[in-house]
């Protein structure tokens, strides 16, 4: 059960080996979380994340294997993960995602479609199942990891940014639909984060590490705000960027 401070005890992570998700789980376990169910496609990475969660205070960890390229398995994965919690789930972190290298994908229809499958279709299938289950549960929260890339799509990353934009907008609708059900959904929009996903990429202003993102996330989970920005100042930066004329945006974003 979530306590008065919004600290969850039971947590499920879809995309459990994501660096950002792992950083969040570490902080949650250091506070109150004692059961963690990690779902992902690589057992070794999940085991490593599970060991880490235990090091930080979790008493019970479980793993579920799945491949996000097959949205047909989403219902099964959600059902299996929630069953492994062994009681009502407090928080589900949706951290499934694929960044990829745009230049290698933009002329390849299959690769482009895969970006949408992994970043949008699979998560939305899972969220649909989760939504119904949390509404029945009368309580529980979902945290979806989106990106500032969703706020304004860049030419050099339009597959990733466009996919996140789709997920982000869908989640805003799901969040609205959860009002009054006891369940809720929050969206995390990190800026550029140093992680294995972004290794080798050029850093841009307001770049942070995963621990800072996790700190901002825990604060957002405590306040319950709909959209959690990390770092928080990006809320204002992207308010401006979103309204720039296209020529100016290209000059800025595609440097």
């Amino acid at each position: 059960m979530d306590n008065a401070f919004g600290q969850p005890q039971n947590v499920v992570v879809l995309g459990g080996s994501s660096d950002i998700a792992r950083a969040i789980v570490r902080k949650l376990c250091a506070a109150r979380t004692n059961t963690v169910v990690l779902c992902g496609r690589n057992q070794d990475l999940l085991d490593a994340a599970a060991a880490e969660a235990r090091d930080y205070g979790a008493a019970t960890t479980e793993t579920v294997l799945f491949d996000a390229e097959d949205p047909g398995n989403a219902t099964r994965v959600v059902a299996e993960a929630l069953a492994k919690v062994g009681g009502p789930v407090d928080l589900v972190i949706v951290a499934v995602g694929l960044l990829g290298t745009q230049s290698e994908m933009e002329d390849d229809p299959e690769a482009a479609a895969r970006m949408i499958t992994v970043n949008v279709t699979w998560p939305v299938a899972a969220l649909t199942e989760l939504r119904a289950r949390l509404v029945a549960q009368g309580r529980g929260r979902i945290l979806v990891i989106s990106s500032v890339a969703a706020v304004r799509v860049r030419r050099t990353q339009y597959l990733y940014g466009g996919a996140k934009a789709g997920l982000d907008r869908l989640c805003q609708g799901i969040a609205d639909s959860l009002e009054g059900t006891g369940a809720s959904l929050q969206i995390l929009r990190p800026g550029f984060v140093r992680s294995k996903m972004t290794t080798g990429q050029r850093e841009i202003p307001f770049t942070t590490g995963v621990n800072e993102v996790a700190e901002n996330t825990l604060r957002g989970l405590a306040t319950g705000e709909r959209i959690i920005w990390s770092p928080p100042i990006l809320r204002y930066v992207f308010f401006v960027l979103r309204h720039l004329p296209a020529t100016l945006w290209r000059l800025l974003a595609d440097r």
């Binding site: 306590n3 008065a4 401070f5 005890q9 004692n34 062994g86 006891g182």
Partner: protein, 444 residues
Amino acid sequence: MNRVRLTGWGRTAASLATLITPTNEDEVAAALSGEVIARGLGRSYGDAAQLAGGVVLDNSGLDGVSSITSEGLVTVGAGVSLDDLLALSIPQGWFIPVTPGTRQVSVGGMIGADVHGKNHHRDGSIAAHVRALRIVTPVGTFETSPTHEAELFWATMGAMGLTGVVTSVTIQMMRIETDQVIVDTDRFDDLDAVMSEMKSGDDRYHYSVAWVDCMTRGRHMGRAILTRGEHASLSQIDEPHLRSPRPARLTVPLDAPSGLLNPLSIRAFNELWFRSAPRHERGEAQALSTFFHPLDGVRDWNRLYGRRGFVQYQFCVPDERSEAIVEAISRLSASRVPSFLAVLKRFGPATPAPLSFPQPGWTLALDLPVGPDKLPGTLDELDQLVLAAGGRVYLAKDARLAPATFAAMYPGLDDFLSVKARVDPEGHLTSDLARRLHLGFPHG
């Protein structure tokens, strides 16, 4: 079947449940086929009377009050409020032997929390004055008392509804001659002074409570106002009456902005409160409700804490570890977590109830607005301080304790669980609190 959003008095960690209002024991029994918890007037501060996705039984339909016998015995439906009971009993010269700080509690809720009052050092908790309890459990209905089905009787006291649904309670009331209390007030400039006066002098008074300022640092840390009193006899009052308490005249109509109660405003309030108290006053006559239920003057005062709500932290420690009280107050004042005047009391002997909170020594209760980043960690540290001192945290106030800490604080837990296993073998009686604390929860 309507699903409603429920929270405790602290208005944190809401969940949705199906609310049913049974009007008799058959309807209660019918509702025990799935996960369920009883709820009274929602004055527990945390998540004790809510159950996400389950059934919550509003006990207000279990009403009815017997006539009061010449010996002062009264049998009351669990859904009757203390306010209603006192409105009937005071004009007949009977008072409740133990009252919490509000009349807006149900009698069933008083049992669930095993409430205590300003007279615990003399009279113990409400459990000591209950002569019989009717409890509907998943395996049947029990008529219990300290001599019959005593194990279930005691396991139910302070168990926050987790053994079954209390439907009626027989209480031994106490005689009063007037509706006034004769009050002595003393102001102390630091914590040591008030604690030593309470330790040596409380036995001379029926009722005693101190309000402690936890925000002043340095020499005046823990300055306090001690009020102690006795029921007024006929000879002490010029025009004695036995009148029912007045209803609240003020109400908080909407949620205050979350920042209204901040360190600055709370410090100012504490300062005003402290300075407005007399240094020494003797023999002041106060109405029962003024003395016992000061907060009932303002309805919905919990809304002052804004959307994010507040937690109350109440713990007790044995006499020989009274330094834990000093340490707790000094840590809170050092962490600059804002807190309203805290309530300090002495506890007398405990009952045999395994989950009942009071044990001999000291108890301190603090109201803390949710918000400061430091608050969750500070309270976690206080838990460890209290645990190391052989103390515990009160379930009726709790909204954030961790399961392992709770289990360590209540050594009677196994006794409780064995009774629960007998009357609730499938674990149907549960709550958000029980799930959070793994209290009889099969997935513990």
